[in-house]
């Protein structure tokens, strides 16, 4: 039981680390590029868009999508590693 328990805890710790990494990216892209630094980024042109405006109204959504799928694949691997998949 105890080895089971420590393996469950290790699994949870790795899960938290993955979540923290992805949510850090999520925060930087949406709140950083799209809101806090949007005016500075707007000085740069990107395919006809001011870059900050592009991040705010399109780019951030693509990144969100990428993050969820990256999480899906990371967790599938982690579930296999700790043998907790179904």
């Amino acid at each position: 039981m105890s080895s089971n328990n420590s393996s469950a805890q290790a699994y949870w710790k790795e899960n938290l680390r993955i979540i923290m990494t992805y949510l850090a990216i999520w925060f930087v892209v949406s709140y950083g590029c799209g809101i806090l630094f949007v005016d500075a980024l707007d000085q740069i042109q990107f395919f006809g868009f001011p870059l900050g405006f592009w991040f705010a109204q399109q780019g951030s959504i693509y990144v969100f999508l990428g993050l969820i799928w990256a999480y899906v694949f990371s967790m599938n691997k982690l579930d296999e590693k700790y043998d907790v998949h179904e």
Binding site: A8, Y11, W12, N15, I19, Y22, L23, W26, S30, Y31, G34, I35, L36, V38, D42, F46, F47, G48, F49, P50, F53, W54, A56, Q57, Q58, S60, I61, Y62, F64, L65, L67, I68, W69, Y71, V72, M75, N76, D79, V84, H85, E86
Partner: protein
């Protein structure tokens, strides 16, 4: 074929399809009624979630909002998509593993408390009713404009359809109908968007079209900025709201999205924990197709609108020469013109053309059918034209002179968006009443069959109430929507997160946190939205719509502090929390 006939054909055809699916997917047990038996494939669930989520607000209103407020619309675009990242990583997999039917189920069991359960039930019902009222209004607008029936009749038709598949089919019927509705609504949104993009910029993809350079040698956005400034508006790509307000509003919408009961419950319908994550990925993909197109539709629509009304030289257009859509929407009361300078030309500029919504008098000016409708409350502003934001998407194909079948398709898409969301919400309301209140709180001894009967009865009552709101829309729909997101962000969302990520969180902490979050957010919104508080009194400059974030932070702080000074939860609860963190053994959703 005439436009009317085409519209009847498109809407009638889509209704026949939904009813057919409902009959094919009838629910026989409570499990099928509540969570579709827990056997929905992730792709189908992703599509159903997308249709459930994208309401009349996303389909009809969002592009209109972005079109009129430019960069400030960012909060809605990011807020209503970024929440899915939170859902996928922080909520969906663990709630699926927990394996019950509803959000109050989780909160009641995790916090071993019927008080906590009851607070969650109240939040769920308030949030869902708020939303339903908006959907029914959307159906009413479409019916009154395109089918020339009275709004009341339109709402009744919509109610009858939802009644049919929500009451008969439960979650199972709703899920597969929503898959069909997603296909209709995304087609209806993308086809005119692609047409517009091709017409204005020659780009097939609206996403890149918005960045394109026009024949004039300037980009679409530069043109928009120049037009806006010339007419006295702020630059389109510059924001007017403060950074802190946008920040808090975006956070409230993201956390509110992740805490909406009708979205969360969709993740109970898949077979495995893994599938809950995957369906969040599919859901956001299907949602992103529409959401990344919205800024383009908003931008093109605004250029077209200004150029059509003000003419190529920006001096205004004779009323007699205005295209027919202008007069049609005038008939629906969503466009109004007051000839303030008496030159007979319609001219659109910055400023509110009327004091509040336009008020119409009897008939038309001079009793002449070729003149504009009489209005009685023109303002002092030089702007002569009122354009309701909600018509942007619906009127776009007409403004751009697209073929009639595109216009009919858009009407069918708007109805699909409104009905799919309404059905999902009605199901959540009926489940809350039959399962969380009747079965779990009032009378645990009722049988599966009786519970199912209560669920169907509750669905009928909910549809009637929603219909009443659709026919007599409360004047404060926009205000109560802020309330729905604020409530979800400040009460449901933190309670679930703490329940999963903190084994130490107990009843006292969770209940105190939810109450503080709820009361502070509601008080703030009610004070500023209903009791006439002015914006210079805003706390740190945060608008009532964004205050849910502050409520959420207060909730988290209060819950953590209180739980530390009260006894830890019982051992078996701590085991439950450890158990939901491990995917294996999710099995099917259980009622016990």
């Amino acid at each position: 074929m005439s436009l009317d006939l085409l519209t009847y054909l498109f809407i009638g055809g889509s209704f026949a399809l939904y009813i057919g699916i409902a009959i094919w997917a009838r629910a026989g047990s409570t499990k099928e009624f509540y969570v579709a038996g827990g056997g929905v494939p992730p792709v189908a669930n992703g599509m159903a979630t997308a249709a459930d989520w994208m309401s009349a607000a996303s389909f009809i209103s969002l592009a209109g909002i972005v079109s009129f407020i430019g960069r400030d619309g960012t909060a809605y675009l990011m807020g209503w998509t970024g929440g899915y990242v939170l859902l996928a990583m922080l909520l969906a997999p663990y709630l699926r593993k927990f394996g019950k039917f509803t959000v109050p189920d989780f909160i009641g069991d995790r916090y071993y408390s019927n008080t906590a359960r009851t607070i969650a039930v109240i939040c769920t019902i308030v949030i869902s009713f708020t939303y339903v009222a908006g959907q029914m209004r959307g159906v009413g607008i479409v019916f009154s404009r395109y089918l020339h029936v009275e709004i009341e009749m339109g709402v009744v038709i919509g109610m009858a359809i939802v009644f049919f598949y929500a009451v008969l089919g439960g979650m199972k019927g709703i899920t597969y109908t929503q898959v069909a509705q997603y296909c209709v609504l995304i087609l209806a949104f993308m086809v005119p968007a692609i047409f517009l993009s091709m017409q204005v910029t020659g780009h097939f993809l609206p996403q890149t079209g918005l960045g394109a350079t026009l024949e004039s040698g300037k980009s679409v956005l530069t043109t928009l900025n120049e037009l806006s400034v010339e007419l006295g508006f702020a630059e389109y790509t510059a924001g007017k709201k403060t950074t802190i307000d946008i920040f808090f509003l975006t956070a409230a919408l993201m956390c509110g999205t992740a805490g909406l009961p009708h979205v969360i419950v969709r993740f109970f319908t898949v077979p495995r924990v893994k599938d809950a994550r995957i369906s969040a990925g599919w859901a956001l993909l299907f949602i992103a197709i529409l959401y990344t197109t919205v800024p383009a539709v908003a931008g093109f629509g605004r250029v077209n609108l200004i150029q059509t009304i003000n003419g190529p030289d920006n001096a205004g257009t004779e009323y007699a020469e205005m295209p027919s859509w202008f007069k049609n929407w005038e008939n629906s009361g969503l466009i109004a013109w007051a000839d303030k300078n008496g030159d007979g030309k319609v001219k659109y500029e910055a400023g509110a053309a009327f004091d509040g919504k336009p008020a119409f008098g009897e008939g038309r000016v001079n009793g002449d059918e070729s003149m504009q409708r009489i209005t009685t409350n023109a303002s002092d502003s030089v702007n002569e034209v009122y354009v309701d934001r909600d018509i942007m998407v619906l009127a776009n194909p007409e403004i751009a002179q697209l073929p009639d079948w595109v216009i009919a398709l858009v009407a069918a898409g708007a109805v699909a968006a409104a009905l799919s969301t309404a059905a999902g919400l009605l199901l959540v309301i009926s489940t809350s009443i039959s399962h969380d209140l009747m079965k779990k709180t009032i009378n645990p001894n009722i049988t599966d069959k009786q519970e199912l009967m209560y669920a169907r009865l509750a669905a009928i009552v909910a549809i009637l109430i929603a219909g009443y709101f659709g026919i007599n829309p409360p004047g404060f729909v926009a205000q109560v929507v802020a309330l729905a997101f604020g409530l979800a962000a400040s009460s449901v969302f933190p309670a679930i997160i703490l329940g999963i990520f903190s084994t130490r969180m107990n009843t006292q902490g969770a209940v105190a946190g939810m109450l503080v979050g709820l009361v502070s957010t509601m008080a703030y919104i009610i004070y500023f939205k209903f009791m006439g508080g002015s914006s210079d009194q805003w706390f740190l400059g945060i608008s009532p719509e964004g205050f849910g974030t502050v409520g959420m932070i207060l909730n988290l702080i209060v819950a953590t502090v209180i739980s530390r000074v009260t006894p830890p939860p019982p051992e078996e609860i701590q085991h439950i929390v450890e158990d939901i963190r491990i995917p294996r053994g999710a099995g099917a959703a259980q009622s016990h």
